[in-house]
Symmetry: C2
Subunit: 228 residues, 2 copies
Amino acid sequence: MINTYSDQSHLLVAVDCIIFGFDNEELKLLLIKRNFEPEKGNWSLMGGFLQDDETSENAASRVLLKLTGLHDVYLEQIHTFSDPNRDPVERTISITYYALINIEHHNEELSRQHSAEWFSLSEVPPLIFDHGQMVRYAINRLRYKASTQPIGFELLPEKFTMRQLQKLYEAIQGQELDKRNFAKKINQLDVLTKLDEKDMNSSKRGSYLFKFDKEKYEASQNNFWIKI
Amino acid sequence: MINTYSDQSHLLVAVDCIIFGFDNEELKLLLIKRNFEPEKGNWSLMGGFLQDDETSENAASRVLLKLTGLHDVYLEQIHTFSDPNRDPVERTISITYYALINIEHHNEELSRQHSAEWFSLSEVPPLIFDHGQMVRYAINRLRYKASTQPIGFELLPEKFTMRQLQKLYEAIQGQELDKRNFAKKINQLDVLTKLDEKDMNSSKRGSYLFKFDKEKYEASQNNFWIKI
DNA sequence: TCAAAAGTGTTAAGCCTACACCCATGA
DNA sequence: TCATGGGTGTAGGCTTAACACTTTTGA
């Protein structure tokens, strides 16, 4: 039996991660300053080459761990970019993933080492290569996903107020929502547990804290899917 | 400036195509019989290796042309499969695309050369490697796409009856639809032109033929998207 | 006592679903 | 004349969207 497809070209394969975070007001992206030529000093997504023994998802997790110190990050594959000239150094295929992380959990020392910074979606600087396009794909996918599933709990602290959740959805969707309708819809989904605790930071009156209930979520998960 | 990332592993990259067709009754898949070891004689998706000067989309088009003789086929990237052991011969990354083609337009001589055959979705044979998983991803994506956009005209002849279109949607969605509601919905979308011509094959009375109106479609395309 | 955010229901419109009969024609 | 598939409209239920006032409490 043959054991290589030996006459075929072999290419570099990388993963690039679009890392979303939420600061209770805006949706943000974690970008790094590229520290080698070409495009040294310009803003870039965090990425890495696919190693021999790992899947692209493993590679994306590894890259995220390296930059943020976080394990078990929510990841979803978006699209693979393959233009022969997308990387001027050498042809590289890039498999992109988006990640949702809690801004407060990430390791600041590691980000500093990579000259990483958070940018609001409205203030994303020009990015190297086709990374801008990757970000646009990721935002679209995140919006779609958020419109069909109660995603995004990964972006919030464990306990959060209804208003924080609403702000998150507003940030993802890029539009304001009515708070009564929002609460109604979320309650219908029945995936949150209302706690007796209140968060006293945001107002004098305080607002109830909620927790995401994974069990309820998994039990009813099918319902969130669009009808097909 | 460096001009290679020389210490990194280079991998084979392939595209695999999930080719959908419609025979006025059922949604079908075009599969080929693999003609080399391992898994020689087993059913497989049509695929090919990415060449030096082409994008993965170009590669998918090339592969489709080779098998079907068709240019300008509707293609959409689905997912990239990267398990290190997915191909026992040699590690290969596979970027998958689904294609929608009109069964009657494809070149039968070419399919014969590749020992290709159409299979109903309900009778897909076991496939090599992870190709079964690829098919499942493609079906899900096609269903999603069809539920948000008037896709699938690529699967029909240029002129088609409302009933043919309905059968197509039923095949994609895997469920029967009410013909009055279906016609209403399609008419609301306002992307078809009703012709004066009738198709006399399907019934004694005959049924009106329609054409897909690309201009109307593009003019109103945004409306089909789910609200986000 | 005032400012600031939290919490809470109702109504109207639009959309989706279910459902049945007549029409035109070839055999 | 009859069997076959084609074509068409309406009513009820459900979902979504719009909308405002009272509560709490720290300053």
